[in-house]
């Protein structure tokens, strides 16, 4: 009996001493790469803020791959390969061409979780891939509603979109078309690559209203309109960059659908942090929201908090 107790106490001493002397396990800092087209674009400002916030909270090392404009999917694919080779452990991607998302992801070795931002593109099923997406169709409908409230009956609407196939824009266009046509309006879709911006804008101005489905196109259109001193009240669009917000505040853009990019970035990183720390069994799809804002609402206290996170 006494011998058993002594053995038990000796074992307890050994166990506790070993645990006391053992180095406390440091929480690993996972490295995550973000690969999006034109990484320095203002369009990613709120998205980066969200990613940085989550990276701070969850102790993640985040790298924004320096990119310019991609010519084709292969450019993005090569960049992802470089990031993987340099030791990244997870990826956040905004797919350059949604149609080729599958082939883009095929090249990524298994064991590297991937979050697809913005759109729920075609992708292989599995626990290591998920999308933190915007509701494109709903955003298109919200943009259509703003156009219909612009004071023009059965408006003709020029829609400016980027040239390549992006699911988000396609969904937004579908939603916009449904809404405008339902009100008796018509649409003229103009693609970025079809002509110079000046020419495109001239064509668009022939319509009652202009709707732009891409942030950079919207900023370009707003700059051209301001430069040419064109009549205000025609330009609407989807965007969230500070330049677009400034144009909205000035009234050059009359209304904008603002995607909640901060939440998109935060949730993308939070998902990866949870999955890599094994708190989550699998990555899961998340849909984030948006806010339609008109010029006169820019300085509403709640809208200010959404539009001006940079300076807060």
């Amino acid at each position: 009996m006494a011998a058993a107790i002594v053995v038990f106490l000796a074992a307890a001493i050994l166990w506790s001493a070993v645990n006391l002397l053992k180095e406390e396990e440091k929480k690993p800092m996972y490295r995550v790469s973000v690969v999006v087209e034109d990484s320095v674009s203002e369009r990613w400002t709120a998205f980066r803020l969200g990613i940085d916030q989550a990276a701070r909270e969850y102790g993640m090392d985040v790298t924004f791959a320096a990119t310019g404009s991609f010519e084709e999917t292969e450019d993005q694919k090569n960049l992802i390969g470089q990031e993987v080779q340099s030791g990244t452990q997870a990826l956040i991607l905004s797919v350059f061409d949604s149609e080729e998302a599958g082939s883009l992801l095929e090249g990524i070795s298994s064991g590297i979780p991937v979050i697809l931002a913005e759109t729920d593109a075609i992708r292989p099923e599995g626990p290591e891939t998920a999308a933190v997406a915007l509701p494109g169709r709903e955003m298109g409908r919200a943009l259509g509603d703003m156009l219909l409230k612009a004071g023009v009956d059965e408006p003709s609407v020029a829609v400016l979109a980027r040239s390549r196939e992006r699911y988000l824009e396609m969904e937004m266009l579908e939603g916009l078309t449904e809404t405008v046509r339902a009100a008796g309006g018509s649409l003229l879709v103009l693609k970025e690559g079809e002509a110079d911006p000046d020419v495109l804008l001239s064509r668009a101005r022939t319509q009652d209203l202009i709707a732009v489905l891409d942030d950079s196109l919207l900023v370009t259109a707003a700059a051209l309109m301001e430069e040419k001193g064109l009549k205000k009240g025609k330009l609407y669009g989807v965007g969230c960059s500070p330049s677009a917000v400034t144009a909205l505040d000035k009234g050059i853009i009359s209304g904008m659908v603002i995607p909640n990019d901060f939440t998109m970035g935060y949730q993308s990183m939070a998902q990866l942090a949870g999955y890599m720390a094994k708190d989550l069994p699998a990555l899961s799809d998340i849909q984030v929201g948006y806010t339609p804002v008109k010029t006169e609402d820019v300085h509403d206290p709640d809208v200010e908090k959404l539009l001006f996170p940079l300076v807060q």
Binding site: A2, F308, Q312
Partner: protein
Amino acid sequence: MKDRIGRDLEKIRKRLKIGSAGIQMSITLSFSLIAGIGMVLLGIILYSQFSVRSQAVTTENAGQFLAQTKRSTEDYLRSMRRISDALYYSCIKNKDLETDSLDPEFSLLYEAYRDDLVSIALYTEDGDLVSAVPVSAGREGVDVTDQSWFTDALGTVENLHFSLPHVQNLFDETPGRYHWVISMSQAVELSRRGLPEQGVLLVDMNFSGIKQLLEKANPDNTSEYIYLCSSRGDIIYHPRMSLINAGLYSEDNLTAAGRTDGTYMDFFEGTNRTTIVKTVSYTGWKLVSVIPHKSYSMGMGKSPYFVVLVLSFALLGILLVNQIVSGNIVSPLLKLDDSVKDLENGNLSPEIYIGGPQEVEHLGRTLKTSVQKINELMEDVLTEQEQKRRSELDALQSQINPHFLYNTLDSVVWMIEGGHDEGAVYMIRQLASLLRISISHGRTIIPIRDEIRHAQSYMNIQQIRYKNSFTVTFDIPEEIMDLCTVKLILQPILENAIYYGVQSMDGDGEILVRGSREGDDVFLDVTDNGLGMPEERVRELLSGREPDMEENASRHGNGVGLNNVHSRIRLRFGAAYGLVIESEPDEGTTVRIHLPAIPYQNDLETMLDGRKGGGSEKKR
């Protein structure tokens, strides 16, 4: 035989070993268990005290830190108020708007505090811009009269008003440049052409000043944080403001805003936390410090291992010390136990161990004394038994005294030959009665009635033999007849009275047997008026010295003396009882038999013997 003894001793040794291990183990485990429980209880109490104290210290530190942050915030706001006051009392009050420009003084003050200020502007009560720095032109389409800072200032003119943080949109600034500001506004008295009119002074403080101040109070590496909200609960600063705006985090700001200064325990969003609220002077803003309770245990991850290590070491130490202490306690007990076992094995003079602690030593001494007393008592019992056996043998011999029997029978023959048949019959009857009582079913305790009857039979025979040369009188009250006595105690005394008292008195001899009771005592007195005896002879009679048989025979012929009677009474009833002899030479002798007054019962003898073997001893 030798092997068997060896095996037995081995068994005893094994038994002792097991026994000692049991006692020692019990003491060790009991002490260790008590000490262990005590340590664990003490540990729990100390840990809970430590925990409570730690929480109190953390809360106190957070409170002090919050108070310091509050002072810093108040100092900052006070400096902003001084700017506003300086603008009003040094610039605006002394100027006439019709003739004087405020721009130089405004610019001067703005330049002096440009890090903290975004703009300074003065409006008339109609909302017209009078003067502004650094941008002098107001933004087109902006109507200040419906802005809260303006209406608040004119609503309560005596106060200085602080707005919530907002993006300034009053002036045509550089495109794309926005400032988060806190507007400080107050109603001022303007002078135009000597006539007073009301206006509003607006000082837009750079929100980054408050933000930096509070960011310093919120280090990144802790879960505790401080936030600032208005008296209505609108959050002014929060370290997770972006998340709150995006709906990814929530705060209990409305509850905090409704509280007075103090410390509160909250349960919010599944988290227990301590909240400390302090109100910032003048603005009514609330500085709130939030301490999640999980932060109390941060940095103590290895504490459980340390506690287990200390407890295990302490318990091991206690166990070892208890083992040594219990060994020291048990060792003398085992030695004493060996002595007892030696005694149990039949050694009546064992070597008793005397040593060890005081109590064990005392136990040893007591045991030794007890063994000695047992031995003495055993010797006493043996001696007593021997005396009793010899007394009983003497009494038995007296029952079958051949001389007396021969003389009696000879007298009977003589009577029959002389034709005295009736006398012969009487003699034989007396003899039969004598023998019957002598036998008494083997009992040694009989009623006094039987003893008297025996004595009467004996004396009847002796009177015939001695031809009535003496008289005998029995005076025995009925009340003592059923009390008990040792049998055959009167006969030897009467025999002595005849032989040494009245034998040769030619008819004048008198023997009186008288009984009496005094309380719990019974007395039987045998008195004769014979020759008596000197005092030395009296002392000799009861001295216990055994006269030899020849001497006895020469003196009275039957070999049974007074001393024998005296001893038998004392053996049965104790030393308080027995014979008392009073004698005067030529006067006579009285022998007093002293007995206890005990009513006779059939089992009385067994009770008086105090042991079962009494009956069988009598039979033997």
